[in-house]
């Protein structure tokens, strides 16, 4: 039984995230003033490979700035992401779409688990019309530095583009993130409403 979890389906992608923590940490990983963050990604088939480690590193860099780790020092926060289904239909950049969904599902699971956070992060996938480049932007949608959609937390861009195209894409990404953020807030509102039903009677 996990402390928090979330499942997210976006088109062909289905991901399941579970959070455990704060729990006991191995002495080797213990950090005196902070919680240790462990992120594991399990592929839908086969064993983990270098590719999953890369995804783990990217996911870590996206979500770690929003988690307030000093609240539970010398503990472990365990994040496990199970890829249930992820097929490429026509989109070329499958790693990017996976990453965008992964950020959303992990943030929702973190909220569900009640992990102390500075704010919520939403991620959006942006593709250039001619497929020359693909971007994933992660913007803070609540708190986390300024107002909604002001803090750019995460970027993963691939292809061939110039500065102008990048700035334009980031603006599209910001708007998309705000939309995704509203959806995420709605889901959380619904969840809290259901959980607290007995109190509202």
């Amino acid at each position: 039984m996990a402390d928090g979890s979330a499942q997210y389906t976006d088109g062909p992608t289905t991901l399941l995230a579970s959070i455990n923590g704060p729990i006991e940490v191995k002495p080797r990983d213990e950090i005196p003033l902070e919680a240790y963050l462990e992120i594991t990604i399990r592929p839908s088939a086969g064993v983990t490979s270098v590719r999953e480690k890369h995804l783990e590193a990217l996911l870590r860099s996206a979500i770690s700035p929003l988690i307030i780790r000093t609240v539970h020092p010398r503990t472990l926060l365990q994040i496990t992401l199970q890829i249930i289904q992820h097929e490429q239909v026509s989109v070329a950049h499958t790693l990017h779409t996976l990453l965008a969904s992964a950020v959303v599902v992990v943030v929702l699971a973190l909220v569900d688990a009640g992990v102390p956070m500075k704010g919520m992060l939403a991620a959006a996938f942006v593709e250039e019309a001619n497929r020359s480049a693909a971007h994933v932007f992660g913007y803070a949608v609540t708190g986390g530095g300024g107002g909604p959609g002001e803090g750019l937390v995460f970027v993963e861009s691939d292809g061939a583009f110039d500065e102008k195209e990048f700035v334009e894409a980031s603006e599209i990404g910001r708007k998309k993130c705000l939309e995704v953020g509203e959806l995420m807030k709605d889901w959380i509102r619904g969840k809290v409403g259901r959980d607290m039903k007995y109190r509202l009677k």
Partner: protein
């Protein structure tokens, strides 16, 4: 070994090295708050370390390069082996794993064979005693993540033409075998920013790689190479791409805000959590941006793009000097 410094006269003060160990973040912040802002290494925030490059110094590799930036030194060796298609080729089933970039439509059909048949094998070895914390043994999560990024960079930039890896039957022009390039990067000394040095070494090694001319021998049903050195051919690497990595530290609004440090060393990497990596291409274009670890603004990333473009020119000149126009 330097002699021990004399004991401090004031018992409440201690030498900089102790300060650095006790409060690494404050130590870095104090340095950056001085005018002009200076990093502990003496560099300015936007100063990269000067790179050096040597190629083809290894005798058993088909191409090799040694890259040194400051105290980070890597050796890259490229070695070709042959993948024969004689066995079980007809009904080969390609199983793409989740999260794997699938087939991309491309007018030249390039990149697909390299990706699907795993013709390029990139690996980074850090278990060489390059720094205190890495021991021989299986690669750490960090080494694996860097390996995956290097591999992705190599495939995404499509630098290697698939044509140069095909081995044909001289009579029928049919593809009989492929070259498989094993690219191994050995980290000799690590003082931060291993990605930039490793990537430059891979690119230089590939540009210096010469494979023997190979042909399909019908009698032996195998691939045979001509031993003459004069018949060795370069890979025909297309274009240039150079990465530039940055670490970002937030000094707080009243003390100078965010400072972007170019080409961070080991100490700075340990202190700063926010990172940006930009891969600059020719013609001031960008091939890849990676940012994470902190809350920032688009302007920050744009500043990194500018610095990466400048850095590209430095590498470009160095490559032109060492590898010449042929490289």
């Amino acid at each position: 070994m330097a002699t021990a410094p004399p004991p401090p006269s004031n018992p409440l003060s201690f030498p900089p090295a102790t300060f650095q160990k006790l409060a690494p973040k404050t130590f870095l912040e104090r340095h950056l708050q001085s005018t002009p802002a200076t990093r502990p290494s003496g560099r300015g925030p936007d100063t990269f370390r000067i790179p050096s490059l040597h190629t083809n110094s290894l005798s058993h590799a088909h191409g090799s390069a040694v890259v040194r930036t400051g105290d980070t030194a890597v050796v890259c060796g490229v070695r070709g082996e042959v993948l024969s298609l004689a066995v079980g080729t007809g009904g080969r089933i390609v199983v793409l794993r989740s999260g794997e970039d699938g087939r991309r439509e491309n007018e030249e059909g390039e990149g697909d064979e390299i990706r699907e048949r795993a013709l390029v094998v990139t690996n980074l070895e850090m278990g060489t005693g390059c720094t205190r914390d890495y021991h021989p043994g299986p690669p750490t999560d960090f080494a694996q993540a860097v390996t995956a990024r290097l591999h992705r960079l190599l495939l995404a930039n499509k630098l290697i033409p698939s044509k140069s890896l095909r081995i044909l039957d001289p009579n029928t022009e049919e593809i009989k075998a492929y070259w498989v390039l094993y690219i191994d990067v050995i980290v000799i000394s690590l003082d931060g920013n291993v990605l930039d040095a490793a990537w430059a070494s891979i690119l230089a090694a590939l540009r210096s790689t010469k494979l023997p001319q190979a042909y399909w021998d019908q009698d032996t049903e195998g691939v045979v190479c001509y031993p003459e050195v004069s018949r060795y051919k370069p890979l025909g690497i297309k274009g240039l791409a150079f990465t530039a990595s940055f670490a970002v530290i937030d000094l707080g609004a009243e003390k100078g805000g965010k400072v972007i440090l170019s080409d961070p060393d080991e100490f700075e990497e340990g202190v700063c959590e926010e990172r940006v990596m930009v891969c600059a291409l020719e013609g001031e274009r960008v091939g890849w941006i990676e940012k994470g670890g902190g809350v920032g603004q688009v302007a920050e990333v744009v500043e990194c793009v500018h610095r990466a473009t400048e850095r590209f020119k430095v590498w470009e000149q160095l490559f032109a000097k060492v590898l010449g126009s042929s490289g």
